[in-house]
Symmetry: C2
């Protein structure tokens, strides 16, 4: 760690990837990693507060101060927080396993339950292909190329006087002649406005030589804060050809939407985050194409659902006012946008349908999910929930819907948890405890050596610790218990989930009182949101005839344990259903059906948004929920019945 | 003229402009001039056949062969045709006055006759501005910025659920906030399809901070083959603020549309010609703005009319198939196009309305002219005529219209005429002859020393020579007459219009039998077109209740003389009216009135195009018209009555 260079440029080599970046002397190590295209976890977006960007300096000098996120031992061993370390010389840096993102993301979807999907929709893709053969022009019939095509579309396809993109006109003469006047015309139904029979007119977006009807594909894409999921859809068969998932490369710029918004406010930040989310979409597309030998030119349409922040950043719409009271999005209904204009690598004529959203924190992903779940199709009173840093909830049925978002904090995604991590290989996902010995049994994703604990693992662990009386209803450890697993750590009391020699990271993996407290606050926010929203329409949680849990987090949730900690209401278990990535399912539906396209707008329009922030009822409900499972024991009868050691 | 350099690059200096171009050894001199941005007349587009690109080599060596377009004397003096001369060394070249284009173009419009303009239209510009004040968002009303604006547009302006350009959404948050929620919203009625009450919906194309209603301008532009004319329109007052005219810089690439099309087929040719016509439009805009202290940002809409070839080149639509049988244009109806996408220097949100056209040779300029003349508004049987290299004719009234184009050749614009030139300073415009002495009296444009003869001068001269029996009805000189003015020249007999010492060009300016023959063929084509089109609807020329002469050429025409040579039909003179640049007038009308916008499409749709090329009736009528005034003497009673020396 001695200085070797005083030049104004420094070369930083990152291990184990063994890639370099050349940066200005004084740059932060985190920015050097971004420049090198190397991922370092930085869930706070480089603000120095999360401590997830820990790296080890092997050689060279950085300037950084000891922080509370690093132990003295770590600091002495050369560990630093990348975000608050300045590069002074050429460096070699190792990114330890816990600061790295796995290359591969896995979908761990449960088999979807039947009975919660939209039904009865007519198969009628908004993106359609029409093959026509035109009579070649003669002196007696030398109308314009465009009119010739329009005339045939009317005669053969009953498509009358359609609008047409100018770019189609530009290539028309050559396409008509090279194909010997036999062409395929692509049309797309616009969804920028609610369509009436008078205005339900598709527009012509492409013309291709010959008959291309047998290659007719669309892409459905869910842009999540953490992952980007895509599916190739065969529009001739109404089938999913393939799906793929990648990390949203924006993760390198912050784990949650608020840090992403903060990043967009830096110079060039919005453009950068737009570029990387587009790069993630392009990566999904590349994978889908490679896996299936479908050609890029055969993709004719894209449908995209994401939360309001992801959608706005993708579109280059400044999300600044989403995080400032009174929290206004730019627009909930977006006209069709050319994929090319966003940088998405498909043919020039391809449009993107962006799901309508409801408010700054209830986005297109929720509208898409509610649509996919068919909530709007049934009289059954439904509670729809997507648990996450920003948890969205919807209550309603075919007649009405109310919605809200709860700022739960990052605990469900491992944020703010000492050994928290996102749900990937090596994350402790399930936990049980021997009530006699207090020894744990843990289950990790992929059965890998443990590396940390993910949200669902955390819920299961806290529920088990509660049921085993290791912690009380206030989340505090029972310090009377004798076990080497229960000990006083740097963050107050903690329970050792795995000993250092059992882990990938050579440290004891523990759950601390601070972690438990963070989880309680997260679940309290979700529950208080549910409670407040129910009260706003004069119902109680027990009135829910159906509870639909959406999202990847929902899919890995143990319902019984989630009720035990008071995250979910204590109602009959058979009312709960998982729907997986409903956002992606909805995006698929609008590619398959004009009816669903119209419904996507209707659903967004029928949702009444209730603002919970600065709502006094919400605050009261939140404080009441800061207990395991809740201060109102009567709301959780089955849980209380199971608890052997009620504490105060 | 000795070689001084053998390097592969040569520097060519052009006088009198004193500008240089560095070109490859072996390049044509014409291309060197284009590279230097120097204009050399080349009405045939550089094919070597017109001889208008004569230049004088002062120093250096070119490789070129003697041609029939240069006298031996000229060749010996160092004159060459620029198009067929290859640059071998560094050169200094003088472009003589007759090969140059005047810098200034002048409009010589007659006072327009009343009674031939469209009337009764409602003033309602398709481009409109709406000022609204929005309530700022609160926690109780935190709808999206877009919805907030839409809500106010509905409440204040009765504009409901309008489509909106995505770019407006992108800038909305900042515009709303910087203006303290007081903005002006611009809307534009789309004219891509015939609108019905259900679809008559403007779209939102811009939002600006504050109240900008007092600066509300549009541009009307006529893109002619020779000139580009523009007007700034004040949409608040329904007035023309200013007009301006420049040469279409495409002239350097050929005088007529056919040579322009030929140029577009060279590599990069279409893009080049698009660039230069856009540069011409930008020059008009610059002049209009400079003259009037109106800001570029205050221009919110453009309407453009031009012939089909000019419109297609402006739009980057390949005109290749316009000149190949069966002569098909790409499209007659063009959706609104962003001005920016064409390279026109106005604000990004501005759209261009392109006039609908009818066929490859009956373009938006004719539709615009017929609209401006109100032909479609009246029962009166009207003959509308735009005389030029490509002469367009329309016959009809409010019930029906037929149209055709006649390929008259370039004689009316001075092409193919030994001393022919376009109508600019120094052109002989009027001519009379003393029947005793056979001495002429000539009148030039600007009363400058003569430089050549323009189309209207040619018509007047031939008519006078016919009436004075200097030529016969077959166009041949009466060689019995004794006058130094009548002599045998290199191109058979000729009449000296001006002696060398009276001219700018130090040569005798003459009119030759070949010139007269070219004019006869041109007028025969126009008349045969009129005749054939009339017969196709079972009328004769004498049925015309009104004849409207459009275009700059029409404006300078002497009707009596035009009838004398048989260009116009011999009907009562009070039925003739001039309408000037009706194409520009029509472009103005559609900027002023949605009704006129709709009518522009209706007019284009009601015109039935009759193809004259390869039409046997037309060929017969053409041959019959190759006489002065016509072989059918009964059709021209007043002319025959005046002729004292009928010849065969």
């Amino acid at each position: 760690m001695t200085g070797s260079s005083k030049s104004s440029k420094c070369t930083v080599r990152f291990l184990p990837d063994n890639v370099e970046a050349i940066v200005e002397n004084g740059s932060s190590l985190l920015s050097a990693a971004l420049a090198a295209g190397v991922h370092i976890n930085a869930s706070c977006g480089g603000m120095g507060v999360c401590g997830t960007c820990k790296v080890k300096i092997n050689s060279g000098t950085v300037e950084s101060k000891p922080t509370e996120k690093l132990t003295k031992d770590e600091f002495d061993k050369g560990f630093r927080q990348a975000c608050n370390s300045s590069v002074l010389t050429d460096l070699e840096v190792t990114i330890p396993v816990e600061s790295r993102l796995d290359k591969a993301v896995q979908t761990r979807e449960r088999t979807k339950s039947s009975g919660v999907a939209a039904t009865g929709w007519k198969y009628s893709p908004p993106f359609a292909k029409h093959y026509i053969e035109l009579p070649p022009p003669t002196l007696d019939d030398n109308v314009s190329d465009l009119f010739r095509m329009m005339r045939e579309l009317k005669a053969s396809c009953e498509l009358i006087d359609l609008p047409i993109d100018f770019e189609v006109i530009q290539k028309l003469p050559e396409v008509l002649r090279e194909s010997n006047w036999k062409v395929t015309v692509s049309t797309l139904v616009s969804a920028a406005r609610l369509r009436t029979p008078e205005t339900a007119c598709p527009k012509i977006i492409n013309v291709e030589p010959g008959d291309t009807r047998n290659t007719h594909y669309a892409l459905a894409i869910d842009v999540g804060t953490t992952t980007v999921c895509g599916q190739i859809l065969d529009l001739n068969r109404g089938k999913i050809v393939s799906d793929s998932i990648v990390f949203n490369k924006q993760i390198s710029y912050g784990a949650d939407v608020i840090t992403r918004i903060a990043y967009t406010q830096k110079p060039g930040g919005l453009i950068k985050l737009q570029e990387v989310v587009v790069a993630s979409i392009n990566e999904v597309i590349d994978r889908l194409l490679t896996n299936n030998k479908i050609l890029r030119k055969d993709i004719g349409h894209l449908t995209v659902a994401g939360n309001t922040i992801m959608q706005q950043i993708l579109l280059g719409l400044d999300p600044k006012y989403i995080r400032l009271a009174p929290y206004t999005p730019v627009a909930n209904f977006i006209p069709l946008v050319k994929a090319k204009s966003l940088g998405i690598k498909v043919e020039d004529h391809v449009y993107v349908y962006i799901f309508p959203s409801v408010s700054s924190y209830v986005g297109g992903d929720i509208v898409s999910g509610v649509l996919a779940a068919g909530v709007n199709q049934r009289k059954k009173l439904t509670f729809f929930m997507d648990i996450g840093t920003n948890g969205e909830i919807v209550i309603g049925n075919s007649d009405w819907m109310v919605t809200a978002s709860c700022s739960a904090g990052p605990a469900f995604e491992g944020g703010g948890i000492k050994f928290g991590m996102v749900a990937m290989s090596g994350a402790i996902q399930d936990f049980s405890i021997n009530k006699e010995t207090l020894e744990p049994s843990i289950k990790t994703i992929d059965d890998a050596k443990p590396k940390g604990i993910c949200g669902s693992g955390l819920i299961n662990t806290v529920a088990e610790l509660l049921e085993a009386c290791v912690i009380g209803q206030n989340g505090k450890f029972n310090t009377q218990l004798k076990s080497p697993r229960i000990r006083e750590g740097t963050d107050n009391y903690e329970y050792v989930l795995a000993w250092a020699n059992e882990t990938q990271i050579d440290q004891d993996i523990v759950i601390t009182e601070v972690d438990i407290d963070n989880l309680i606050r997260a679940k309290a926010a979700m529950y208080a949101g549910c409670h407040t929203l129910s009260r706003s329409v004069n119902i109680t949680c027990s009135d829910f005839e159906q509870v639909i849990l959406a999202g990847n987090f929902g899919s890995s949730l143990n319902i019984e344990k989630a009720i035990t900690i008071g995250l979910l209401p204590d109602i009959p278990r058979d009312r709960f259903t998982f729907i997986g990535n409903a956002s992606l399912s909805g995006a698929r539906l609008v590619a398959f059906s004009e009816d669903m396209l119209d419904d996507s707008r209707k659903v967004a329009q029928m949702m009444t948004n209730i603002e919970l922030s600065e709502n006094p009822d919400f605050n009261n409900n939140y404080i009441a929920a800061l207990f395991l499972p809740h201060t109102d024991q009567n709301s959780f009868p089955t849980v209380i019945n199971n608890l052997n050691c009620i504490s105060g």
